[in-house]
Every structure is written in structure tokens, then in C-alpha cells.
Amino acid sequence: MSATSDPSKTDTGTMPTIRPLRLGALRRRGRLLRRLWSDAPISVIGGVGVLLFLLLALIGPYLTPYNPIANNFAERSETPSLAHPFGTDNFGRDILSRIIYGGRNIFALTGSATLIAVGLGLVIGLYVGYLGGWIDQIVMRLIDALLALPALLLTLLLLGALGNSRFTVLVAIVILYVPIVTRVVRSVVLDIKTKAYIEAAEIGGESRFHILFREMLPAVLPTLAVEGALRFSYAIFLVASLGFLGLGVTRPEPDWGLMVSEARDWYALSPHMMFFPAAAIVTLVVCVNLMADGLRRLLEYSEVD
């Protein structure tokens, strides 16, 4: 990239300074985490909770002996037991297994959608914020128009236009969140654009790519991490709501929102059918929110420093 194409860069051969620098950064990070732990231990717990959910999504399928979509009418609507810790549903399917596989789907869908949206929003925000002028104006007007659409309505519209599938939900989340991330990134870029080190890089003849991704990106990253965590939590919320409305999923696929909706008819007989998927949604969203809150605090610490 620019390091090889740019002869004006002379700071090569700085290997010895890298190690102490890294150790210092690690130590600093450890100090910040300890401070977060004493200020708001609950947000650290939230972060650990998200990791646990992720771990369960990754290795859960190897732990459970049950097939999440196979009916077993001999064990219908059983209350929680040792064999079925969360009980079984009206088709005799193990609810814990369905929650594990549903969590896998949620993480895959919302995780990839959030990552794509954050990536695209980052690049667009960096460019339009830095370039300014008419490109900036056009992009911002387009963003205003997209943000004028209430989130769920835009999603419903796309589900109608592109078909009722998980892929459409992914596209919808990306379209919903790119404008928001772009706005956030752009505001940070506008703030740091006039800083001396950016001017120094411009005068030094650095390429635009270098200025945007080597000089500006590190300053944008903390804010982006907080925004990304928030987007992730809204995405989970949205996917669960869509599942509840029966959109973006097909039966008998295990989906937390759809499980809650299906359990409504059986509530009087087996309330556990509703309790566990609903609790899974609430716990995951709350954990992600707590994690986002913790990230925001970490961002504040580093700004104060």
C-alpha cells in the first residue's frame, strides 16, 4: 500500500520501539478495564454474557443430542426435566436445542449484517466527511430520505419487494444502518479534519487512502465500536420482532421471535414454551446494551486522558 509506494516515508527500522509500545498499550487497556470494573461492573458482566451467548452459538450444537426441527410426539409439551432442561414444545422438540440453533441463526444474521453496515458506513462516512462539497451534500440528503422511513416499515417494504427471506432481512438491516453509521463517522471526521496532524499529513503529500485509513481511522474507531454495539442490539431486536410477525423466517426453522409467537396458543398449558425463548431474547439484548454502555464508558475514559 502507501508504505511501499511512498518514498517520503523514512521511519523504517523502528523494530526495537514496537515491543515496549505494545506492552504499554496492553497495560493501559488493562488499567481501563479495571477502572470499568470498579465503576460499572455490570457492563463487564454484560460483555461476558455476550461472549457466553456467542460461545453457546458456536459449540452448542455439539453439546445437545437433539435435532431442533425433528418432531417427537412421544415427548410432547414436557415441562423442564434433566433430559430436557427447558422442556419440550407441542411437537416434542427440545426447547434448549431450538434456542441454541436459533441463537446461531441470530448471531450469523445480525452479526454479519451489522459488520457489513458498519464497514460500509465507515468507508462512506470517511470519504464524504473528508471530501465535503457537493458529494457530501448529495449523500447527506439521501441519508435524510432513508432515515425518514421508520425502520420496521422499510424492512416490511423490502420483505415485500425482495421476498420473505433471511437474505432480505440482512439487506434491510444493512440499508437501515449504513446511513446511521455514516452520519456518526462523518461527524467524527468533521471534528478531526482540522487537527494539526491531518494537515501535517496533507502537507507531507500522503495519499488520500493513507490520510483516511491510517491517520483518521484510529480516531474514529472508538466511537464506531460504541455505535456498532448499539446497532447490533437493535438488529437483534428487529430480527426478533420480525420473527414474531412471522417474517423473514420459515417454519420449522428455530427462531426466538417465532417461538414466542407460536407459544402464545399454548400459554395456558405450557408457559415454559414461551418463557425460555422470550428470556433468551431479553437476556441477549440487555447484555449487548450493557456491553455498549461499557464501551461508551471506556471511550469517555480515553477522551478524559
Binding site: A145, A148, L153, L245, G257, V260, M274, V282, L290
Partner: protein, 314 residues
């Protein structure tokens, strides 16, 4: 101020125009043809062609958009394919229902959330603030459908106090409809309460750190005067914007809530329209929701500008 007003209203119009273009394009992409939706399967090719011409579907895209737009602006929104009814009165009636629900939710949520947010902000870091922050964070994490189902099962089916369904007969008076509206309004209010409360808290904390507060205290003003005459007025400015933005959130939330409680609002109509692939109905409904949302944002911006003496516009 006048120049600002004109600029804001122009932007409002431009944004709506762009949004309508996006929505129109999205709806035109819908798979499945209109002829089958209207005439049924096995219609004569001649009849299909006649219908295409009648509906203007053989015109170029921008001509279609122009026709639709002029019709929309003059109040002719066409007929719903699925219900065979004129769209405008239908959408307006449902919008009225949704706004009624939103208004009650706002009335329930706004006063306590501002008070709680103020109190938590003034006691930053103390027990009340910690409990409030954690509680609101959890409340924000409960999806509307989970909250709605909890309320239905506990309050309506468990205690038997209120009706579980919100399906209001169209000719019911407000007094008759009210008991059916309480649970869905409470569901919407729960999220709003946490959201507005959190933002009020942040606003209060930010204001309390400003130097004018210290000046006011040092010059001997009473604590109550400092809070209510200075801090609250400044801290509530962003809250106005937040309340307007949360109207947009409500529109999304109401889609789910109306489906949980079987309430005849705009959101439920939209889910129906999309399931039926009823293009004109989708267009009309989405555009009216977008207009309401944008209008709320516009009013909030103007209010903010009018109430904030530090902003000198135009």
C-alpha cells in the same frame, strides 16, 4: 428565523419527495404481477392488457411515478387491490387509530420519564441513579411483543382487570374504547419511558457540569430555583427532539404492538398490505407514516429553535 423556517420546510419537502421515490421504486420491484392480483388467475390476455393500460403500468417508470405523485397530492390514492376500497379514507381511519394509541402512550410515558430522568441525573452515581440506569437499560431491552404478551397474560388473563384484545369496533365512543387501549398504550409507554428517561438524565448531567450552574449557586440562588429555572429548561431542550424522534420509533413499535393486541391501526394494515402484495395500499400507508414522522421532526426542530435563545437563525 423566517429564512430558517423556509429552508427547513423546503428540506422537509425535498426529503419527502426523495423518500417517496425510494418507496415507489421499492414497490415497483415487487414480484408477482398486478393483473393476477386484480383479475384473478386465468384472466384473458386482452383483459390483462386493458388493465395494464388503465393502471398506467405500460408507461415509463418516471411517468408512472409522476402520475402517482399528482394523484397522491390531489387526494386520489386509488383503490386497494385486496379490499376493493378507496385507499385514502381507509388509511386515514387507521392512522387516526394509531395516533390515538401513540398519544395515550406519550401521555403515560413523558411526565414520569422526565421526572425520573431529572432525579437520576441530579443524583448521579448514587443508588437511585444506579437503579434507574440499570432498570431503564433492561426495559429498553424488552421487545414490545414480549412486554405486550406479559401484560396480556398477567393483567388481562391473570387478574382479569382489562380486556386482552384491543379490537375496537369502529363506532365505539372514546369511553368504550379506552379500557381496550390501556394495555397496548402501556406496552408502547414502557419503551418510551426508559428511552426518554435515559436521555433526560444525560441532559441533566451535562447541564449540571456547566459553569453557569456553579455561578447560580455561588450567587446565592435557591437550589430549587437553580434546578427548575436554569437546569431543567436547558436539559429539556434536547428532550423535545427526543420526543419527536421517539414518535418515529413508536410507528415501528406500533406495527408489532398492533399485531399483538389485534388493534386496527396503520401498522397492522401495512403488514396485511404487504402480505397481500397490495401495492397502492402499501404506497399510501408508508407515505402517510413517513409524512407524519417527518412532520414530527420538523415541528421538533422549529420548537427547538424557537425555545433556545442561544440559537440565532437566518
Amino acid at each position: 428565523m423566517t429564512a430558517y423556517l423556509i429552508r427547513r420546510v423546503l428540506f422537509f419537502g425535498l426529503t419527502l419527495l426523495l423518500t417517496s421515490l425510494i418507496v415507489f421504486a421499492a414497490v415497483r420491484l415487487l414480484p408477482g404481477d398486478v393483473e393476477t392480483a386484480v383479475l384473478g388467475r386465468g384472466a384473458e390476455p386482452a383483459a390483462r392488457a386493458a388493465l395494464r393500460e388503465e393502471l398506467g403500468l405500460d408507461l415509463p417508470f418516471f411517468m408512472q411515478y409522476g402520475n402517482w405523485l399528482s394523484g397522491f397530492l390531489s387526494g386520489d390514492w386509488g383503490n386497494s387491490y385486496a379490499m376493493k376500497l378507496p385507499i385514502m379514507p381507509l388509511v386515514m381511519e387507521r392512522l387516526g387509530n394509531s395516533l390515538r394509541l401513540a398519544l395515550i402512550a406519550m401521555l403515560i410515558a413523558v411526565p414520569p420519564s422526565v421526572l425520573l430522568g431529572l432525579f437520576a441525573g441530579l443524583n448521579e452515581g448514587k443508588l437511585f441513579d444506579t437503579v434507574f440506569s440499570l432498570g431503564s437499560l433492561i426495559l429498553v431491552g424488552i421487545p414490545e411483543f414480549v412486554m405486550g404478551i406479559i401484560l396480556i397474560n398477567v393483567v388481562a388473563l391473570g387478574w382479569g382487570i382489562l380486556p386482552p384484545s384491543a379490537s375496537v369496533p369502529p363506532d365505539a365512543s372514546f369511553g368504550e374504547a379506552l379500557p381496550r387501549l390501556i394495555l397496548p398504550s402501556l406496552t408502547a409507554a414502557a419503551v418510551l419511558l426508559a428511552y426518554i428517561g435515559r436521555l433526560t438524565r444525560v441532559g441533566v448531567i451535562a447541564e449540571m457540569r456547566r459553569t453557569y450552574v456553579r455561578t447560580a449557586v455561588l450567587k446565592g440562588l435557591r437550589w430549587r430555583q437553580v434546578i427548575f429555572k436554569h437546569v431543567l429548561r436547558n436539559a429539556l431542550l434536547p428532550t423535545i427532539t427526543v420526543i419527536a424522534i421517539s414518535l418515529g420509533w413508536l410507528i415501528s413499535g406500533l406495527v408489532v404492538i398492533e399485531n399483538v393486541f389485534a388493534y386496527p391501526g396503520l401498522g397492522r394494515l401495512m403488514v396485511f398490505a404487504i402480505q397481500q402484495r397490495d401495492l397502492p395500499l402499501i404506497l399510501g400507508g408508508v407515505m402517510i407514516a413517513v409524512t407524519v414522522f417527518a412532520l414530527a421532526n420538523l415541528i421538533a426542530d422549529l420548537l427547538y429553535a424557537a425555545l433556545n435563545p442561544r440559537i440565532r437563525l437566518g
